[in-house]
Amino acid sequence: MARFAIRRQHRGPLDYAGRWSLRLWVAGVMLFLYLPLASLVLFSFNNAKRTIRWEGFTLDWYAKMAGDDALISAFANSLTIAAISTLLSVVLGAMAAIALWRFRFPGKGAFDGVITLPIVVPEICMGVAMMVFFGTIAPWPRDLVWPFDLGAITIAHVTFSFPFVTVVVRARLASFNREMEEAARDLGASELRALRDVLLPHIRPALVSGALLAFTLSLDDFVITFFTAGPNTVTFPVKVYSMVRFSVTPEVNAASSVLMAITIALTLIGVRLQGTAIARTESP
């Protein structure tokens, strides 16, 4: 008993990894989380149509996907919407965060409360609201040239993604030392210049992670987009949904794998950028 007690005391934090029960638990979690994704990618290379048996390696489905004009245009639509809505969300979200942090103005409390509403409102409600709004109240012209025909979807995406940017930027602003801004002013900077030279570098990591959030939210949104998309403005998730309704072909697998690869790559880039940005702006 005494020896056992001593051994327990000396167990370091990494020693727990040696316990078989813990290893089993971790393996179970990994399996549960990632097996579906792994099988999706795996079967995108499967040389068979509509089967869950492995028939051999092929890139045919990727080739087929690349030749599917409807899928490619849906993909282009998705990326375009994501890019534009991310840009707008970051600008709007950061401005809202700075306004809420920096200024006092009438209706600030109400603004503060309402701004996070799109995060908590169920997507289906947002979707219906957008459909009604762009359908009857302020109809978005359907026959505009690309990419202006994507306007309604883009606006809808900005609506639900910019609050996330605001939340992230505000959290970052809390650690900003106001004396930095005052020092810049004292050294001759105008209010705008002080904001640009001192505040912006400080919140840059939050802008990066906010942009990343906005981009992925836009890229994989289905519900809200489904209600605002027209026949000519199909996005990738909506297109995949319509393909799946007929049959789950490995082509869907291939397309999903590409989307996944893009998202993972962007996340890695974002995390990298964020890491160096924080290291450079941290007040010592």
């Binding site: 004396e179 930095m180 002013r185 004292d186 050294l187 900077a189 210049r193 030279d197 570098p201 702006t281």
Partner: protein, 359 residues
């Protein structure tokens, strides 16, 4: 020559009066300290000078120009902030060059002035470093160089030494004073640390609750305090309330058995209620009665002692129960420099030692 003039300046935050009707002149080339307990309004006064706060009432003039409506970036003052506020994403040299870049100073002149400012604060070799690679003291020097490189008429320092450790603080005291003499710029420093103010400044303003209590040289502030607050805030003092005698040269106080004799008559009405203060180091303490009678004498026994190295501070209780603080210099080396508690001692002080303050 007057460089800065506060003309009946008041600053209110809501119903709180941070600065209450302050009028103050600061001359060019002075090292001036704004001293007082926290919340006394000294920092607000400094921030109004920098343009970071706007006076509710009154005027601030710098070099004869009314600063009302002049934003901080257009004032001939620069500030060293309490947190130093060194820009973390810029190198030391870029930090110092920042103000000159905004002023569009040409590259060769800018580089020369940055090098000169860094040399002044002895940071020449650190120009390419990032602020997170510097110690607290070095970051403060960056802030100092960054402000001085703009050649301001006034340099403002907000609690410049409070974030440094004790040894560095003492070294920086001398260095800041030396830099001020070298560049000849008017320094206005805010501090809550009286030692800092007395050691560095040529003149100090002591503030309390938004009001100026006294503006004087460090010596005058210590030896000739204007009121009880000043006497009590600066250093240690024994304060007794008493009544002035008919000939105005002695004060009877219930705290002591014998009246306190003064060197010269006090300019106050006979029988006026006054306060009298005696600094602990101006009282001589002996373990035996002095052979020669002095003007002022008392006796008592030691209650506690605090050994401070150079001096020992004693609390002595008189038979009537009054506590008197006395310091004794430890001029001789001794293994037991403090007298034990309970020792009976005799105290005496010269008639010019007490300072008489209005009641």
């Amino acid at each position: 020559m007057m460089l800065i003039r506060f003309d009946h300046v008041t600053k209110r935050f809501g119903s709180f009066v941070a600065v209450d009707d302050v009028s103050l002149d600061i001359a060019a080339g002075e090292f001036f300290a704004l001293l007082g307990p926290s919340g006394c309004g000294k920092t607000t006064l400094l921030r109004m000078l920098a343009g970071l706060e706007t006076p509710s009432q009154g005027r601030i003039l710098i070099d004869g120009v009314d600063m009302a409506g002049v934003p901080p970036n257009r004032r001939p003052v620069n500030m060293v902030f309490q947190s130093y506020a060194v820009f973390p994403h810029m190198s030391v040299a870029d930090n110092v060059a920042y103000g000159l870049k905004i002023d569009r100073v040409a590259r060769p002149e800018r580089d020369a002035r940055v090098a000169e400012a860094l040399a002044l604060v002895k940071l020449g070799e650190f120009a390419r470093r990032r602020p997170d690679q510097l110690s607290g003291g070095q970051r403060q020097r960056v802030a100092l160089a960054r402000a001085l490189v703009k050649r301001p008429k006034v340099l403002l320092l907000d609690e410049p030494l409070s974030a440094l450790d004790a040894k560095l603080r003492e070294a920086m005291r001398g260095e800041l004073a030396a830099i001020q003499r070298e560049v000849g710029v008017t320094f206005v420093m805010v501090t809550h640390d009286q030692d800092e103010a007395l050691a560095m400044a040529g003149r100090c303003a002591l503030m309390d609750q938004g009001r100026l209590q006294q503006v004087a040289s460090p010596g005058d502030l210590y030896e000739y305090p204007a009121n009880r607050f000043v006497a009590d805030f600066i250093g240690t003092i024994n304060l007794f309330e008493g009544t002035l005698s008919a000939d105005r040269t002695a004060i009877t106080t219930p705290a002591l058995d014998a009246p306190i004799h003064l060197a010269k008559p006090v300019p106050a009405a006979p029988d006026a209620t006054v306060w009298v203060g005696i600094r602990p180091e101006k009282i001589t303490m002996t373990p035996a009665p002095a052979p020669r009678a002095a003007a002022n004498m008392a006796s008592g026994s030691i209650v506690t002692s605090a050994y401070l190295g150079a001096v020992t501070l004693y609390d002595i209780r008189t038979p009537s129960g009054t506590l008197i603080k006395v310091t004794a210099a430890n001029a001789q080396r001794s293994a037991s420099p403090a007298l034990p508690a309970g020792t009976h001692v005799w105290l005496q002080w010269e008639p010019d030692a007490p300072v008489v303050l209005p009641g």
